[in-house]
């Protein structure tokens, strides 16, 4: 009796797992029939619609307030969509978090991802990257009167970052003398920084700039300004969609010269007074 029940339980579990696996296969299969064959270029032409995955909790980059999204990533998404012939009204924004960006692209739940998405080799194995449209670097956000001048002066200090993120990992491996506090969101880190429980918050400089520019923290924090890594932000599309990737790079090339890239910056992150960076077209990926 007990044995049969045990067997049944494991059987049910195995079935659930295999069904979940099937379901995800079906997803990519069905959407693959419509779009993957022709990629996002084809989908944009036929349907005049795109689903774009973005971050929802990063001021200045991708921030959701109510049902609207604002930020630099959002503006880049709009530029790409426009280049593909899709109106703003045809874009559906979809919130992604760091952990589900690859599955969303693979399963076709989003057509592309513009979400502070660092290009790296592991990710390149499963998605295709257009861009980079921006090169960020890991930096530190500290109180205005802090003595911290860079990653070298972190010894014995409490540094905050988001658990499981690349910046947190870099502190753990490269700056072992620093004490690392991790939270699930950057806003908690910033709250702890304001309360004095941590001495610095670390992640990509433009994300920090977004927090420093928030009204409630105006004048309290500064970004140290000594980036100690390179994080090229790319636009993720399906692995086999190299046509889409090439098209994205073409659109970015145009945006670099026609002023739309600068406008996207000035409307969002540029508000804190930072001048727009140059979009270096020489660095664009060659879309395997």
């Amino acid at each position: 009796m007990r044995i049969t029940r045990l067997a049944a339980t494991f059987g049910a579990f195995a079935m659930a797992v295999s069904m979940a696996a099937c379901a995800s296969d079906d997803d990519s299969g069905s959407s693959g029939g419509g779009s993957s064959a022709s990629g996002i270029v084809g989908k944009a032409q036929n349907d005049k619609k795109l689903v774009i995955g973005v971050k929802a909790d990063q001021p200045g980059l991708g921030l959701q307030t109510g049902s609207t999204y604002t930020g630099f990533d959002i503006e880049i998404g709009k530029i790409i969509a426009k280049g593909l012939g899709v109106d703003e009204s045809g874009i559906t924004w979809k919130t992604t978090v760091s952990a589900n960006r690859e599955p969303y692209i693979q399963q076709g739940q989003v057509d592309m991802v513009v979400a502070t998405y660092t290009i790296n080799d592991d990710r390149k194995k499963v998605v295709n990257f257009g861009g980079p449209y921006f090169v960020a670097g890991q930096d530190l956000l500290v109180p205005t009167n802090s003595t911290i001048t860079g990653p070298e002066s972190l010894a014995g200090k409490k540094v905050c970052s988001v658990s499981g993120s690349t910046p947190a990992k870099r502190i753990q491996t490269d700056y072992k003398d620093a004490k690392l506090q991790q939270f699930d969101t950057y806003s908690k880190c910033v709250t702890a920084l304001a309360g004095g429980q941590v001495d610095a918050v670390t992640t990509d400089d433009i994300i920090l700039a977004g927090y420093a520019a928030q009204d409630q923290y105006a004048g309290k924090f500064k970004v140290v300004g000594k980036p100690f890594s390179k994080e090229p932000y790319g636009i993720g599309v399906k692995k086999d969609d190299s046509a889409g990737c090439n098209k994205i790079n073409e659109i970015l090339k145009t945006a670099a010269t026609d002023g739309s890239y600068k406008k996207a910056w000035d409307d969002t992150l540029g508000k804190s007074g930072t001048a727009a960076p140059e979009l270096d077209v020489a660095q664009l990926t060659n879309c395997s």
Binding site: D122, S163, G164, G195
Partner: protein, 224 residues
């Protein structure tokens, strides 16, 4: 599954589940002790204690655990200055244990109180008749029978506690859900297998635990 061929990744995985284990054990002890005390309060003849027990249960049973853990860090530690240790991980661990115990105690209290209701009123009356005090009646007559009646529901509560302990990750402990995020971030090409490994570990450990509690409940049940 080649994520787990790297010993550093295995280490992340093991550390994650060790924290879960520690949180679950400490949380279980804390919740059990607090829960029994609360249940005793709720059935006691002193109105203030009854009121306190009821208030505790109503507040903590109806507050999301994420908020309680959040409060433990930003209220108890940040604002009130309560600190269990200078070490960041250790401090977060104890803050997490406090949050988990306080929350789970509300459920334990209600389970035990329902167990107390299964003990026939005649038992308590008989105990009173031979001159036992309230405390003696409770600890020697009522609670032993009540406890044995609620082993199965307590088992469910502790299994829930084991899974709830992942929420302590939100204040930075490198427990399993953070370990999972860590591995997913570094191995974007193997998201599904990493996810299955972590979910599977919980299932493999907790399914037999559930059966264990069921077996214990049948063995220890008071035959009436």
């Amino acid at each position: 599954m080649d994520v787990f061929s790297d010993p550093a990744n295995v280490d992340v995985y093991v550390t994650g589940f060790l924290w879960i284990l520690k949180l679950t054990i400490a949380g279980t002890v804390g919740a059990l002790v607090l829960g029994v005390v609360l249940a005793a309060m709720r059935v006691s003849p002193v109105p203030v204690l009854r009121w306190f027990g009821a208030a505790w249960v109503n507040i903590f049973r109806n507050t999301p655990l994420t908020l309680i853990i959040f409060f433990c860090y930003f209220g108890l530690f940040s604002t009130l200055g309560f600190s269990a240790s200078d070490d960041i991980d250790r401090n977060n661990y104890w803050l997490g244990v406090i949050g988990l115990s306080v929350y789970t105690a509300a459920f334990v209290c209600e389970a035990i109180r329902s167990g107390i209701n299964t003990v026939p009123a005649g038992q308590a009356e008989a105990a009173r008749a031979i001159g036992m005090s309230f405390f003696q009646t409770l600890t020697m007559i009522i609670l032993p029978q009540a406890g044995r009646a609620v082993i199965a529901p307590l088992g469910s509560i502790f299994i829930a506690l084991a899974k709830n302990s992942t929420i302590v990750g939100t204040i930075g402990l490198a427990e399993s859900s953070n370990a999972m995020k860590d591995l997913i971030n570094a191995n974007g090409d193997q998201v599904i297998s990493i996810f299955l490994a972590f979910a599977g570990t919980f299932a493999i450990v907790l399914i037999p635990t559930g059966y264990g509690f069921g077996w214990l409940a049948r063995r220890l049940a008071v035959k009436r």
